[in-house]
Symmetry: C2
Subunit: 223 residues, 2 copies
Amino acid sequence: MRLAELSTRSGVSTATIKYYLREGLLPPGRRVTATQAEYDEKHLQRLRLVRALIQVGRVPIAAARQVLTALEDESLDHNSRLGTAVWALPHGPESPAGAGADGDDADTAAARRTVDALLERVDWEYAQGYGADAPAYRMLVTAVGTLSRLGYPCSVEDLAPYARAGRQLAVADLDLLERYDSPDEQLEAAVALTVLYEPVLLALRRIAQAEESNRRFGRGAGE
Amino acid sequence: MRLAELSTRSGVSTATIKYYLREGLLPPGRRVTATQAEYDEKHLQRLRLVRALIQVGRVPIAAARQVLTALEDESLDHNSRLGTAVWALPHGPESPAGAGADGDDADTAAARRTVDALLERVDWEYAQGYGADAPAYRMLVTAVGTLSRLGYPCSVEDLAPYARAGRQLAVADLDLLERYDSPDEQLEAAVALTVLYEPVLLALRRIAQAEESNRRFGRGAGE
DNA sequence: CAATCATGGATAGCAAAGCTATCCAATGCT
DNA sequence: AGCATTGGATAGCTTTGCTATCCATGATTG
């Protein structure tokens, strides 16, 4: 199909598709003449994935490019591609937010200790091993640091239930993933499910909060 | 304290603080003369909360203003304030993403049915009642619609484990909240904890994914 | 009590992100 | 032959969140 058809079938304007091609989010079409290119179903599928990552998953375009590049990097094996791709996914602000003359990185250090204790508590040895520069680890330290700087509860005991929930979520995630046989499908699904289930999860939490709040305090709050 | 001191103590530039004052994220200081204003510890605390919401929670400034306004709206009772505040929190893209000539709102309708079935399945009657225009509900429908449009699994059975996890999270959230006695503290904490525990949760899920992946497939992926 | 300097309000500007609109020559279609 | 379409390049637009510059007023200090 031509670019115009790709556009109508995906609901994305040709201008935007051209932009994605330029940005390397979409592989170029098969050049059929000097001025025309041919796109196929794979392009359509990829385009839909890109839209989903960007619009639903709020993945910035630069990160999306890294992720997608890793997915089809022929020089890596299956596991390395997956690792690289997920590594590139967004993970909140890198710098621990403006900590003035007040807490600064003493808080960050304390947060790191809390996180390490938590990982030990729930027995995640692999996670402990794979480095303090893992995006998810840094994200966690940042968030915990912010919480404690603001005086909100975030002790190991407070965090433990969330870690337990995270564990169950991961089990559900991997269960979904095991349905895919082809390595390529599995790779793409891993990224898509990681990102696209985030809003699902956050929405379910909010709804459950309202439900639980209602259960405890009776008819009333929307929370 | 003066604006300059507020700035040094919070680590936020005076220009930014002025901007927040202008945007109504921060109540104006007590005017002590015609050209000077006095700020207190409450301002400092509020400023820190604002920074956390914006930087860690990625709450847009307009939404933050609505949230904070609701928190101190004297004309509402406790529960209404909480409901209004949480209602105003960000909840993904409103429009179901560019669905071209392909799935469009047939998918959205299907997603809505799936979500309703899920809520019934897990017995969340209150949630079912409180309206299809609740932000969290819409967010969920959008996300499920996107998943199914992309061909990823999101049946009621697939979603159920996530709903169960959401329920546990909500229980943990409410447990944290019950520590606060003063209504005002509780209100602020509800917002802060809802928003600031999101990155905690997402990070823990990613780490748990890596852990679980390692458990199932042995040494290998970073996922 | 005059000189200077900080304060806070208003205004305009800037940087990044994510598109979008215009132009253009080469080519396809009839 | 002639008009429309294609895809590539380039420049522009919009929003968001912040920053920099002015400026009159009032505080401060020798």
